[in-house]
Subunit: 149 residues, 2 copies
DNA sequence: CTGTATCCTTCTCGATACTG
DNA sequence: CAGTATCGAGAAGGATACAG
């Protein structure tokens, strides 16, 4: 597998070294911890997997069917990453044909809860964002039309 | 500019159409609203910009200096996206040389607040995640060594 | 100073084929 | 059923040059 490991090829230590006493200081470095988590939950499929696994155990094919559009490859890669991070538990039943089930770990469930606040924010503000986009695009269009009348 | 517009080339309406009464139903579609917001804050630089702009007005060059590693191009692209979404306000002072200042909008500040819960979660669980990764990698290494002794 | 335009490299992801 | 392996298209992002 050529990806999915994301074993930070960085030259710097990943451990945060806040200079002061600030409990939560944003990290301007590229290998920031928050960025790593965000990259995980914001990639194309992880969010959906975490959502669908909420309080359920699902088989590979069930996930694949529910997600609609995910390739076999990407579902595998996504699940491996989530498993590696301890967010998803993978259970292989030694039967034939193989039966593999996925479920959130307790850590995964706490992340799910946290993500909900983001979902809530999005639900609450999507109108504003849509409006801002429209306004911006309208202004941009008018500016372009002023340059080329 | 070949990017940054992200004018959803989707064939479907973006407005959410939950079938039932669930206040927050996850959307399995690709053009899900939450995904759009996540893509914004999880791209390589937006999170840092939002973080640095917290309660401050900064000039282009000041942002560039503070972010460390961002290219001129990507800072511009990032700021334009954030501005388009109504998260950042751009103020041009008609002087020469030009002076442009950026600050969070009130919408941007609420997003900043929301993101903090994710930062908090990350701070609280980064040890667990690191441990999970180590454990997974160790298991994987042992498995590989068992196949090729 | 604050951008925009272009080129070019790197990475991601999907399609496809094959396996235990 | 649940993957793994390989390949290629396209997007993202950095370097560089130029402009108002």
């Amino acid at each position: 597998m050529e990806e999915g490991t994301s074993e930070s090829p960085s030259h710097r230590e990943s451990t945060v070294d806040h200079g002061g006493a600030d409990p939560f200081q944003w990290d301007t470095r590229e290998d920031c911890q928050v960025r790593q988590i965000l990259d995980r939950i914001a990639d194309k499929w992880s969010l959906l997997v975490i959502a669908l696994l909420d309080n359920r155990r699902l088989r590979f094919t069930e996930l694949r069917r529910e997600i609609d559009g995910v390739s076999q490859r990407m579902l595998t890669v996504t699940l491996r990453s989530l498993e590696r991070d301890g967010l998803v538990k993978r259970t292989v039943h030694p039967v034939v044909p193989p039966r593999v089930e996925y479920e959130l770990t307790s850590l995964g469930r706490t992340l799910h809860t946290t993500i909900q606040s983001l979902v809530t924010w999005t639900e609450a503000h999507q109108k504003e964002i849509a409006a801002a986009r429209t306004a911006y695009d309208t202004r941009a269009a008018r500016a372009a039309e002023a340059t080329t009348p």
